[in-house]
Symmetry: C2
Subunit: 332 residues, 2 copies
C-alpha cells in the first residue's frame, strides 16, 4: 500500500490535526473527536451535528461552518463515531434551541447517534434526528437495514443548515431535512475499489473491463457487475435508475449533484455531467441547480454518483443561501 | 482502461460541453476551444488569459470568473492549446486595456502563446506574458527547457487576477504575476502515474513500494525514485526541497498550497498539511494563508505537490480579495 500516512492507526487523528492547522476558523477538538464551527454555540440557533466514518471527505467536517453544520464527528475509517464523541459535539454546539442530528442510514451510525441523543436528553437537550437514506440501488446492504445514505447528505446538510442559520425552529429545520431526503434519490457506479489504510489493499476486486453498478460508499455490492460501457450509456443507466425509483414531474426544478467517489478526475465528472444533463433533458426533467465535484467520497475509489433532488422555490432559496465551509462556499 | 468517456478523441470537447451545462455563468465556446467569464470583455479591465494541456483540472477553466481569469484555453490532454485558440480567447476578452497571458513553462505552451501574442499584436492588442516556472525539482525536463510550471500557476492567476479586478494597469498586473512566480517554489511526489484517455494505461510504472520524487504534472521524471516512506518523512523531503531552492526569512508570511495530483484522498492531503506545517514551523517559517485540495492535477495520479510563496502585505491582501470561479471561491 502507498499512502501519505504514518501509522494506519493514527490516520484520523492526524488528518484532524492537519484540518485544524489549515482551518484556524474551525474549532477542532482532536481528543474529543469533533470539528465545530467557530463561535458555537450561537445563542438562539438550532445546532446541526452530523458525522460518520472517515474516508468520505470532505463529508462531514468539510461542511462545518456558517450556513451548514455546527459540528461534525468523524469516526475511524468506515467506522461509526462513538456515542461519547457525538455527545461531546452536541454539548459543544447546543445553544438552547435544540440540536438536529443528521445521520446516514448505516446500522452503527443509527445506533450510536440514538445513544448520543438519549444521553443528550439526560442533559435536557432536545434532539431531532434526520435519517438520510437516498441510495436507491439496493434495499438492504452490508451495513444497512433499508436504503443507504449517500450523496443527498450534502443537500440535507446545506438546506437544513440554511434554514437553521436564518432562525428556523428545531421542528422546522428537522422537517425540511426530512423533506430533502424524501425528495432525493442517488445511484453510484464504481470502476475501482477504495483502499483503507488499515486493510492496505482494495476493498473488492473488479476486472479491467468491469464496473460495479449501484455500489455503496464503503464498497458495498450494488445491483450487478457489468461490462464497462461508454459514458453516455453509463449516464443513461444512472439517470434511469434514479428516475425509475423516484419519478420527477415535467418542469419540476431539480438540484443535481454529480459526485466523484475520490479517484475520478474532474474532467470525467464534467463530461458525465454533460451526458447526464442531456439524458435528464430527454426525460423532460429540468436542472435548476447543479454541483460537480468530489464531495461524498470513498477514499480513492474511481467512480461517481448521481443525486437528484426534486426541489421547489423554498428549497432552491435555501440551497442558494450563503455558505462558508472548507468544501462548500458561496454567497456573502 | 476504465474511464467515464466515450471516444478518447472527444474527451476534451465533451468535458467542455459538460462544463457549459454545469456553469451557465461561464461562456464556453466549444468550437473555438475556450472558456470565458460572462460579461467579458469588461471595459477598462486588463484581461487575463491562461491555458495549457487538459488533464490538470480544475486548472485552468475552473479558475475563470470574477477575481481570477477572464478566459482559459484547454488544449487536448497533455497537449498545448493551438495559437488560433489562444488568439480567439484573447480577442473574446480584451477590452482595450491589454491582455496578460499566463503561461506554464513547457516548450509547446511557450511557443504557441508566443505566436498568439504576435497575432494579437497584429490586431493591435497589447499582450504581456507571465511565464510560470516554479517547480524546483529539475532544471530541464521532458517537455521543458528550464524549470516546469506547476502549482504556483494558481497563485499567479489568483493574485494577478485580483489586481486586474481592482483596476491595475497592464504593466502592474504582469509585474505582480512575475513577482508571485519568482517568490514561489514547488515540489511534487507521485505514488502512481496518471492514465491519459488516449494511452489507456499509466504513463509510467512505479513499484508497490516506490515513489517518484520531484515528478512533473505530466508524469515527467523527477530527481529520483525512492522507497515509500511515512508521511512525516515525505513532508520533510518536500519542505526541504522547496526551502533549499528558495529560502524563506524567519517570520516572512507564506502562502502554502498542499495540492493533490488527482487520485489522493483529501484525508491524506490534510494529514500531509499537518506534517508540512509542523516542518515549516520547525524551520522558523510562518504560514499566513493556506489551501489544501486537488487544484493542479495530473489526471488520476496519486501524489501531491507543495507550493510555498513568500508573500507580503500586498500579496496577502490580493490573495484575500474576493474570487468567484467554479473551483476557487471566497469573499463577497
Amino acid at each position: 500500500m502507498k499512502k501519505f500516512i504514518n501509522d494506519p492507526a493514527d490516520v484520523v487523528r492526524e488528518a484532524l490535526a492537519g484540518l485544524a492547522a489549515a482551518h484556524p476558523e474551525l474549532r477542532v477538538d482532536v481528543e474529543a473527536g469533533f470539528v465545530a464551527r467557530a463561535g458555537a454555540p450561537r445563542p438562539g440557533k438550532v445546532a446541526l451535528v452530523s458525522g460518520g466514518g472517515s474516508g468520505h471527505e470532505p463529508l462531514h467536517a468539510g461542511f462545518v461552518g456558517p450556513g451548514m453544520l455546527d459540528a461534525a464527528c468523524p469516526g475511524e475509517v468506515f467506522t461509526s463515531p462513538v456515542p461519547d464523541q457525538i455527545l461531546a459535539a452536541t454539548l459543544a454546539v447546543h445553544a438552547g434551541a435544540g440540536v438536529v442530528h443528521i445521520v446516514k442510514n448505516y446500522t452503527g451510525d443509527v445506533m450510536n447517534f440514538e445513544m448520543a441523543a438519549e444521553l443528550a436528553d439526560e442533559e435536557r437537550i432536545q434532539v431531532e434526528t434526520v435519517l438520510v437514506d437516498d441510495d436507491v440501488a439496493v434495499e438492504d446492504s452490508t451495513w444497512t437495514a433499508g436504503r443507504r445514505g449517500t450523496g443527498a447528505t450534502l443537500l440535507v446538510e446545506k438546506i437544513a443548515g440554511a434554514l437553521a442559520e436564518e432562525g428556523g425552529s428545531l421542528r422546522a429545520v428537522a422537517e425540511i431535512g426530512r423533506t430533502v431526503n424524501e425528495r432525493s434519490a442517488s445511484f453510484a457506479v464504481a470502476l475501482t475499489a477504495g483502499t483503507t489504510p488499515a486493510a492496505g489493499k482494495p476493498g473488492f476486486d473488479l476486472a479491467d473491463d468491469e464496473m460495479e453498478v449501484g455500489v455503496g460508499i464503503h464498497g458495498e455490492p450494488g445491483r450487478s457487475r457489468q461490462h464497462m460501457r461508454p459514458a453516455r450509456e453509463v449516464a443513461a443507466l444512472v439517470v434511469d435508475a434514479v428516475l425509475g425509483a423516484k419519478p420527477v414531474a415535467a418542469g419540476e426544478p431539480l438540484i443535481v449533484l454529480v459526485n466523484g467517489l475520490g479517484g475520478t478526475p474532474l474532467m470525467e465528472l464534467y463530461l458525465m455531467f454533460g451526458e447526464i444533463s442531456r439524458r435528464l433533458d430527454d426525460a423532460g426533467a429540468r436542472i435548476a441547480r447543479s454541483l460537480v465535484g468530489n464531495y461524498v467520497t470513498s477514499l480513492d475509489m474511481a467512480g461517481l454518483s448521481l443525486t437528484v433532488c426534486r426541489a421547489d422555490d423554498e428549497l432552491l432559496r435555501l440551497w442558494d443561501a450563503p455558505v462558508r465551509t472548507p468544501a462548500l462556499r458561496w454567497g456573502a
